[in-house]
Symmetry: C2
């Protein structure tokens, strides 16, 4: 098994640096281009490298796509239940919201407010798809505001799987009032983060997840 990661390490490559071409690698390692290429593509699948037609491979930054694909697959093959996934999300986000309250920038505060505003509008227009996108973005903004990129990657990787169950929650929250209340809950989280009140932010996030949990349970999701 050819491991290009050693190459990245040995050459002290940083994010954005380019690697040798497939032919150069093959010659350097004494293997065929086929094998060199496969090794590169393996790391590209992990998003450790960024490859593209005609351009050399580059060392890539952190993204959530890889873990997202794994989560998706793991859930799909029934190795994970919705409740188990929500438990992990809750654990992570109880921390991110607390850190976000401590570290948020002015721009992030602004972004949270805009997202809430957009959600409220979308609910009035009865546009669930738009509400969902903004809902997911809301959580991602908070994760980013935590200042810890690992939380960002982890929370973002739930996006694909959240999109698959989100509509269940929406339908289960049948009434317009119930949906508005859900947005208000997001608003309480945002307000606490903006006012940099970590304890209140955590409490609001707990309320949010507990409420979602109840809704999913009543809808018969396991």
């Amino acid at each position: 098994m050819v491991d290009i990661r050693n190459l990245i390490r040995d050459n002290r490559l940083r994010v954005g640096d380019v690697l040798p071409s497939e032919n150069a690698l093959a010659a350097q390692l004494g293997i065929s281009r086929t094998v060199a290429r496969e090794a590169l593509r393996g790391l590209a699948a992990l998003r450790i490298l960024e490859v593209g037609s005609g351009r050399r491979a580059r060392v890539a930054g952190a993204t959530s796509e890889t873990l997202s694909a794994i989560l998706d697959h793991t859930a799909y093959t029934r190795q994970l239940s919705v409740v188990q996934i929500q438990d992990v999300r809750r654990t992570l986000e109880m921390r991110t919201v607390s850190l976000a309250a401590l570290h948020r920038s002015a721009e992030e505060a602004q972004a949270l407010l805009q997202t809430i505003e957009g959600m409220m509008e979308a609910v009035q227009r009865d546009n669930p798809h738009s509400v969902m996108d903004l809902d997911i973005r809301f959580h991602e903004i908070i994760a980013r505001a935590s200042g810890n990129p690992l939380y960002s990657v982890l929370v973002d990787s739930f996006r694909v799987i959240t999109r698959q169950t989100w509509h269940i929650g929406w339908r289960a929250r049948g009434s317009h009032e119930s949906r508005v209340e859900n947005i208000k809950c997001h608003e309480r989280i945002a307000t606490a983060v903006i006012e940099q009140d970590a304890a209140r932010a955590e409490a609001a996030m707990a309320e949010h997840f507990d409420s979602s949990f109840m809704v999913l349970m009543r809808a018969g999701v396991s």
Copy 2:
């Protein structure tokens, strides 16, 4: 971009099921074997498929290797600090230890005790490598005992990266007494989990992470 994942979905494949051969896939999708093979290897890199010489590709179960490789790479390219990684570990493990206290089996309780015993012995023999392996295993047992495989995967993913910083903590805990105290701390966690006292287990885990944090800080790790 050829996506074999759709194939897994459309054929309702489950963990352990075999996929068509590279040639069959190529014919089926109207592409060359080269491309079919690359698509398979891409999923193999994510550990979504399990491939092996001479044998057909199989749908794989959840492992921590993928996320582990990503964490390793992300930390290596300086996108993550030790403190940030420890923060995420702490967040996850505060929850796993609580769940473990609630769900632990008799076997898991036994395994925890054995691990502690082994750690104490290894400390007496002044064998840090062995202490480290048991330390890491201790946390993995707790994650497994949580009953949520996603926590297991996440906690296990930190193994590679923990191995790289663990020795700093060991050396920073210069005295024999300090090292024994660290094991005792593990023991308090284990006892609480075995007695199914979730609150005490959380408190002991908090103490453990806070202590490690202080040690690393004093050692000048950022």
